[in-house]
């Protein structure tokens, strides 16, 4: 009787050890590799945009296709902080000894994508800031397997995440 129980437990354990653990591990590596390519693609996208001063439909599509090639679905969030020097200038006039601070206003993904679809290019100027973050929206294999043992719930349940940002270094030619 006890022999049988131990055998069953041993078989279960063996199954976990021999199949599920390697599978989990391999799928996590697969996520790591996805992470690698997503990270690189995001960074290239942002750095390219900020050195030429514009986000182009081409580079955006390239980013989308590169990250989708990992087999996951992703959510791309972009933000352009547009430098507005007017306010700084105007506020300086109320008192003579202070010079105004620059102010930024933000433009987000949906507005940027709308411009991209309409014109093919989103133009930025020197001094603006551009950031992009990418995270997976589907459950990757490793997340599913992990879900068998323990579950993480909520909106931020992603394993692949990349983000990059920086100051735009040149006025976008238009």
């Amino acid at each position: 009787m006890s022999d049988t129980l131990i055998t069953v437990i041993a078989i279960l354990l063996a199954a976990v050890l021999m199949f599920i653990f390697p599978l989990l591990s391999v799928s996590e590596r697969s996520d790591d590799i996805s992470q690698l390519s997503v990270q690189t693609a995001t960074m290239e996208f942002v750095n390219n945009a900020r050195t030429v001063g514009k986000i182009t439909m081409d580079s955006y599509t390239e980013l989308v296709s590169t990250i989708n090639a990992t087999g996951n679905s992703f959510d791309i969030e972009m933000e352009v902080k547009v430098l507005d020097e007017n306010i700084g200038k105007k506020s300086a006039w109320t008192q003579g000894t202070v010079i105004g601070e620059n102010i930024y206003y933000s433009v987000y993904t949906s507005q940027i994508v709308e411009v991209l679809k309409e014109k093919g290019t989103y133009t930025m100027k020197e001094g603006d800031m551009f950031s992009a973050s990418v995270k997976n929206t589907n459950k990757t294999l490793s997340q599913t397997i992990r879900g068998v043992f323990y579950s993480i719930s909520g909106n931020d349940a992603y394993t692949i995440f990349a983000q990059h940002s920086g100051v735009v270094t040149a006025n976008g030619s238009y």
């Binding site: 996590e28 690698l36 007017n86 433009v107 238009y174």
Partner: protein
């Protein structure tokens, strides 16, 4: 084997594999992450360097002068290394740690480029004040018979106390140093070495605190050195049966070109903007003269001093011009500039008083400026109006200068150099092209191309005043610049690689065409970083940062416009030329233009101004459509048919604003390699070299004669005689006669301008020139001035 055994075996094999794989992939991820971080750090440091460059050029009046530019670039490299070191998490004091990883930084400027690269240099001995110490200075003592010297550092006080210095002993000196109470505590014997050939030589550091005059023995240290300025230049030799052209052309990022060299026997040095061949013009001027036959500088001074209207045509000078620039104001350029300064000063004071609220001062001010209006606001408004008006007149004068001078220059280029082909190229930036092409792969092979280099036809986007981006000229220029940069950058990097003791291999990366385009369109900084340990590999990348707001170059895209009456009005907006809002909302036909750098770096700190020490000198608002957010609705003002009929007249006004704005901004740039006075010259007579002849070009092409006289003797001493120059017994010079110092032991030179209306299309012959004494009261000893002429140089327009 039992199932369990197999299972364990499986686990034993698979687990280590998984573990190793995990570890390896993690390393790869870390490497890529690190590489990404390095990329960002490098980009940010390069951007910092560019910001430093832009700010320094904007706030330094002499930034475009080469010496000043060098210091600005030195400062910029300094900022780069400081920023890079800080980004790497080190203090900026340890920037020397990152320096070896940067094999080169390239600065491409308006008409040439700098490369900053580590170079092995000997350490030259200097005193505490930074002056070089050489053999023969106090304290320098010879050691043995070779080039080795020992140096005893002396202070000024010690030198003053040197007891035998005063007695004049040149070989053996004794000086004593005194402690505070007058007790002699030390003394040295020093020598002035009489070392023959070595005397005056610099001393280089050798090992063990010894110095040498032999550079081969010196100890070399790696230092970041800004190499000499390389112009974007090329030399061409074009020969056929009739002509021989040997010229050097210096290109720039835009259409400005400097040409020096000989065409047949005439040596030319000319600079100017190359305009499209199809751009023609006529002028309404009170005097009946053709400015286009003038020398560039004479035309400029005419335009500066007279009212003028310029009509530009695309193609033949008939029908409706593409634009008309009218200056009716009779004030000269200098008068206008002076008045501008006066008005700005009054405006500044009025603004200060307004803030100060000091009733007495305000009253006094209003009384002393009653012409301007009865109260402070009226004075401010009146000054603003005058400033806007004067600025607009100045802009128009500048623009007309640009077109007229450009046309004079371009016509000359097309006529004289139109035949030069790419295969005539012999040198690029002073480097023999054939020797480079023989040893290295060049990006473009000039030897096999028969394209004409001054062929400028092509399609233009903005109006008709620019040289087409797809023209032969433009392509050739880019190829020349690219070859030059590539060659020199490559050699700077490989030199460093060969001399570097590090194991990393420094080499020039291959840059893509798009990247070159970026480098060659704007003032840019390209920084290279190689050899940093980066996880599983060694980091190797470069970054390009282009500048759009600098003092050195103007891009038509980066010029902003504002309605004339609203210039510097703090409630009005400035725009780009193709902003729809601008077209539809402006209600004037006159606009003032300014380059973007003027608003980007327009904060002024005026220490003497106690009320408003910080000011902006451009008060207009940036348009939220076209400037702040670049994603605006654009209109092509040059495509009139695409514009709504009710805005067409406005679009034509905007076109004029563009033609004035671009021309004015370009004309006002300082050109480092430009020639101040464009001219050609030829010697037609030289008594010492037995040259007697005629000029190669007709008299109508001659601007002036430069005549050198030997000693002219008169019966009295210290006389000044007036000499009259005639040609074929007709007056040829602008002035009736010219002054020459008589009886002087040296030569005297006069420059006599040829009359613009001297009606002669024949060559100037030395034999037909006559020189007469125009001062009858002075008696010449030998009475023939012509025999005293030493040389005659013809200066062409």
């Amino acid at each position: 084997m039992k199932l369990q055994g197999l299972g364990i075996l499986f686990a034993l094999i698979v687990l280590p594999v998984i573990l190793v794989l995990t570890y390896y992939i993690q390393l790869q991820v870390d490497t890529i992450n690190l590489q990404n971080q390095y990329d960002t750090k490098l980009l940010d440091a390069t951007h910092d360097a560019m910001s430093s460059f832009e700010i320094n050029t904007a706030n330094e009046d002499l930034s475009t002068v080469s010496d000043s530019l060098r210091t600005i670039i030195d400062a910029s490299t300094n900022v780069f290394f400081n920023s890079l070191a800080t980004n790497f998490g080190m203090s900026n004091a340890s920037k020397s740690y990152v320096e070896p990883y940067v094999p080169a930084i390239l600065y491409t400027l308006y008409d040439g480029y700098y490369i900053s690269a580590p170079t092995k240099v000997p350490t030259v001995l200097t005193d505490p004040d930074g002056n070089a110490v050489s053999v023969g200075d106090i304290g320098v003592q010879k050691q043995g018979n070779d080039y080795t010297y020992q140096v005893i550092h002396t202070t000024q006080e010690q030198e003053n106390n040197c007891s035998e210095c005063a007695s004049g002993s040149s070989t053996h000196i004794r000086y004593e140093t005194y402690s505070g109470d007058g007790f002699i505590w030390d003394s040295y014997y020093l020598k002035y070495e009489d070392t023959g050939d070595d005397y005056g030589q610099l001393l280089y550091l050798k090992e063990n605190n010894l110095y040498t005059t032999n550079i081969d023995e010196a100890e070399f240290k790696t230092k970041n050195v800004l190499k000499t300025y390389m112009p974007y230049s090329a030399r061409y030799i074009h020969e056929n049966e009739d002509d021989r052209i040997d010229i050097n052309v210096i290109y720039t990022l835009d259409n400005y070109v400097t040409i020096e060299g000989t065409i047949n026997n005439v040596y030319y040095s000319k600079s100017g903007y190359l305009l499209p061949e199809s751009l023609n013009m006529d002028m309404d001027i009170p005097q009946n003269i053709d400015l286009l036959t003038y020398n560039q500088n004479d035309a400029q001074s005419y335009i500066e001093n007279n009212p003028i209207t310029l009509n530009l045509y695309n193609g033949a000078v008939t029908g409706e011009p593409i634009t008309k620039i009218e200056v009716t104001d009779s004030r000269t350029y200098n008068e206008l500039s002076d008045e501008l300064i006066v008005n700005k000063e009054i405006l500044k004071n009025a603004r200060n008083l307004k803030i100060s609220n000091d009733a007495d001062s305000i009253n006094n001010f209003i009384i002393s400026h009653e012409d301007y209006g009865g109260d402070l606001d009226a004075i401010i408004e009146s000054c603003n109006n005058s400033i806007n008006d004067i600025q607009y007149q100045l802009d128009k004068k500048s623009a007309i200068e640009y077109y007229v001078k450009g046309k004079i220059f371009s016509d000359w280029v097309y006529e004289n150099l139109g035949e030069i082909e790419e295969r005539d190229l012999v040198e690029i930036s002073g480097q023999n092209y054939k020797s480079v092409n023989g040893h290295e792969e060049v990006t473009y092979n000039f030897e096999e191309s028969d394209r004409k280099i001054f062929e400028v036809t092509g399609s233009t986007q903005n109006g008709f005043i620019e040289i087409a981006q797809d023209s032969s000229f433009y392509n050739h220029k880019l190829n020349v610049i690219r070859n030059s940069i590539q060659y020199n950058l490559n050699s700077a990097m490989s030199t460093y690689n060969n001399s570097s003791s590090r194991t990393a291999d420094y080499s020039m990366p291959v840059m893509s065409n798009i990247e070159w385009e970026k480098i060659l369109n704007n003032v840019s900084i390209v920084s290279f970083m190689q050899g940093v340990n980066c996880g599983l590999k060694s980091y190797n990348n470069y970054v390009i940062v282009s500048s759009t707001n600098n003092e050195l170059a103007i891009q038509p895209n980066d010029i902003y416009y504002v309605e004339r009456g609203q210039f510097n009005d703090e409630t009005a907006e400035y725009h780009r030329i193709d902003c729809k809002k601008f077209l539809e909302n402006s209600d004037t036909n006159e606009y003032i233009a300014f380059p973007s750098k003027e608003v980007k770096y327009d904060k002024i700190y005026d220490k003497s101004n106690s009320f408003l020490p910080y000011q902006y000198d451009h008060r207009n608002f940036a348009c939220y459509d076209c400037i702040n957010d670049g994603n605006y609705e654009k209109v092509n003002i040059f495509d009139i048919n695409s514009i709504d009929e009710k805005y067409r007249a406005r679009a034509i006004d905007l076109q004029r604003a563009y033609y004035i704005g671009v021309a004015k901004c370009k004309n006002n740039l300082y050109k480092m390699n430009g020639v101040q006075n464009s001219k050609g010259f030829e010697i037609i007579y030289d008594s010492e070299r037995d040259i007697y002849g005629t000029s190669s070009l007709p008299i109508s092409e001659i601007k002036a004669l430069e005549i050198v006289f030997g000693t002219i003797r008169t019966t009295a001493s210290d006389d000044i005689i007036r000499c009259k120059i005639e040609y074929n017994n007709k007056e040829i010079t602008e002035e009736v006669s010219y002054s020459i110092n008589a009886n002087s032991s040296g030569n005297s030179t006069i420059v006599a301008n040829i009359k613009n209306d001297f009606p002669n299309n024949i060559e100037l012959d030395w034999n037909k020139l006559s020189f007469e004494n125009d001062t009858p009261e002075i008696v010449l000893v030998d009475n023939v001035i012509k025999s005293r002429v030493k040389s005659v140089k013809v200066i062409y327009k």
